[in-house]
């Protein structure tokens, strides 16, 4: 049985529909992601899963229970890492874990060894007695993760776990989440970073404007909605100069297979993306198309999102 299941899950605020009838299931032990831009309805979905917001429509079952009736029981078994840090900055690192553990009525004798273990896990043992306020953003995030683990939850909910962190701090967080995954902790996360979704998620849904527009593993999604490679052409001029030249190029067939040279083109303000399985061949045929720079790369979830919605994920 799925750990979390939703059918037609809906959340409305007045006239605004934040979550518009979505279906999904999360299995035990997997890392499940909601990928989408800001305002896609990810956080509203997360709040419903966290039992702090009642659905306006549809059905939601978490750990086999109904969140609107058994919110307390469910929350006992969840660990929540909110988007906005809400550590107590005036308390010490260890005190933050202690006081949070007390919300779960865990006795001091249980908490003391567990705090030591968790601080070790998030590499904050040396800072145990320091105030939280001067810690770096990455350290605070790790502490928040440790705090969410204090009750040994069955499901860890992470809302934008690395938003606002520098690349190095993100990698440390990712590495910790990987370790948790290996230990079998089910994780549900939201992100608007496609690399984060690719790195962490076994399975994900792409959300846009309150709806799920695609579902699968990162690899499946890329195979289904994109090509193997992407040729990025950047220009300082008007993109239309490039696209005119490209249109003529697109009409020419690939010399090797007779197929069109590229499958699809996406126009962005400063660049054009050509979707193809053979990037180098396209580059070889550019001829009269003269961009400022050319880059051949593998397709990512960003391309999947662009294809599905016609918009980029991060503005």
């Amino acid at each position: 049985m799925s750990l979390i299941a939703a059918w037609g899950l809906t959340k409305r605020f007045g006239d605004f529909t934040a979550v518009d009838g979505i279906d999904f299931e999360v299995e035990r032990g997997e890392v499940f992601g909601f990928l989408g831009p800001n305002g896609a309805g990810k956080s509203s979905t997360m709040r419903m899963i966290g039992c702090v917001s009642d659905p306006t429509g549809g059905a939601l079952r978490i750990l086999g229970m109904d969140p609107s009736r058994e919110g307390t029981k469910i929350r006992t078994r969840l660990g929540v890492v909110p988007q906005q840090d809400n550590l107590d900055e005036e308390l010490s690192v260890a005190e933050n874990l202690y006081v949070y553990g007390r919300y779960f009525d865990l006795p001091r004798s249980v908490l003391r060894p567990r705090i030591a273990e968790l601080l070790d896990f998030v590499q904050l043992t040396e800072r145990a007695n320091d105030h939280v306020e001067p810690l770096s953003g990455g350290m605070k995030r790790r502490l928040t993760i440790a705090r969410a683990l204090i009750s040994e939850p069955e499901v860890l909910l992470l809302d934008e776990p690395t938003t606002g962190l520098d690349p190095q701090a993100r990698h440390v967080v990712w590495e910790r989440l990987w370790t948790l995954k290996r230990r079998g902790v089910t994780q549900v996360l939201t992100t608007h970073y496609m690399d984060e979704a690719e790195q962490l998620c076994d399975r994900l849904v792409v959300m846009d404007r309150g709806k799920i527009v695609a579902e699968g593993s990162p690899r499946q999604l890329i195979e289904r909605y994109s090509t193997r490679e992407v040729v990025e052409l950047r220009t300082h001029d008007q993109v239309t100069v490039l696209t005119d030249a490209l249109r003529r190029l697109g009409e020419r067939a690939d010399g090797y297979s007779g197929d069109p040279l590229y499958e699809r083109a996406e126009e962005l303000p400063d660049r054009v993306l050509l979707y193809t399985d053979h990037g180098e061949r396209v580059v070889g045929h550019l001829g009269e198309v003269k961009p400022e720079s050319v880059l051949v790369r593998r397709s990512t979830l960003e391309d999947v999102f662009l294809h599905l919605t016609g918009r980029s994920l991060v503005d």
Binding site: V52, R75, T76, P82, E95, Y98, Y103, F104, D105, S151
Partner: protein, 264 residues
């Protein structure tokens, strides 16, 4: 593995507030000492010598020296001020700046545990400060009845009669824009016109009747009766009932506004 059943309660939330109190109890206790000393010295001794000379104790102050009259009034007024402080910025902060309530809401704690936990802590703070206040009053020789030991409890009730509806209101606020207006034009007039510094009978009848409606007037009457031992009668039960009723209404309203804010 079935997890241990957690029985959520306000007690678990209070522990958080007590832990933060342990961080700054020295400063807060010092303030609790200094503020009555300043007020009682300036108004009680300074102004009081003038009042006693001019008015003569007896007539309008019900046979009391000005210091004895003023000190229990200030005890109730001080509790009101402290309770209003504790139920404005810290409450909005719980939702908005520190997000303490938000963190608690993700745990097994329910809205009412979060709310009652914070109210319990506020009551603790106000009670403690009121006992300190009583100690300072005694040092100034402004206590004349053993019943005075009950006065801080009444002062705390008076404080909570303000804190609970204030918190209910604050939970509906997006920012702190109205807080200083509220303190200046709602709370301050009550401090000035509710019988702390002079009997409300000195006021025009309309203002006097308005004063009867304010919780602080009831708190002042209770504290003054207990600290001086004069006028201890059934009237006091009425004052108590009024304060308790306000606390209950304030708590009910807060339950509604907190729940709406936390679980929208």
């Amino acid at each position: 593995m079935p997890p241990a059943a957690v029985i959520p309660s306000p007690k678990l939330a209070v522990e958080y507030w007590l832990l933060t109190y342990r961080r700054n109890w020295k400063g807060s206790l010092l303030t609790s000492f200094l503020s009555p000393i300043l007020f009682l010295a300036a108004m009680g001794l300074g102004l009081g010598s003038l009042v006693d000379a001019e008015v003569g104790s007896g007539r309008d102050l019900g046979g009391l020296d000005y210091l004895d009259f003023l000190a229990p009034g200030l005890l109730a007024g001080n509790a009101m001020m402290l309770a209003v402080n504790e139920s404005t910025y810290p409450v909005l902060g719980g939702f908005k700046w520190y997000r303490t309530y938000v963190a608690m809401a993700a745990s097994p704690l329910r809205g009412r545990d979060i709310l009652l936990g914070h109210f319990t802590y506020m009551a603790f703070r106000v009670t403690l400060a009121s006992f300190v206040f009583l100690g300072v009053m005694a040092a100034f020789g402004a206590v004349s009845s053993p019943l005075a030991v009950l006065a801080p409890i009444c002062a705390a009730l008076c404080g909570m009669a303000f804190a609970t509806p204030t918190a209910a209101f604050v939970a509906t606020r997006i920012n702190a824009d109205n807080f200083s207006t509220y303190t200046r034009f709602v709370i301050m007039p009550m401090f000035l016109f509710s019988g702390i510094f002079y009997p409300v009978s000195q006021l025009p009848i309309v203002l006097e009747q308005i004063a009867w409606l304010t919780p602080v007037w009831h708190g002042v009457r209770l504290c003054r009766a207990l600290s001086t031992g004069t006028g201890v009668n059934w009237e006091l039960a009425g004052h108590l009932a009024y304060l308790v009723a306000l606390i209950l209404i304030g708590t009910l309203l807060s339950t509604r506004t907190f729940t709406r804010r936390l679980y929208e």
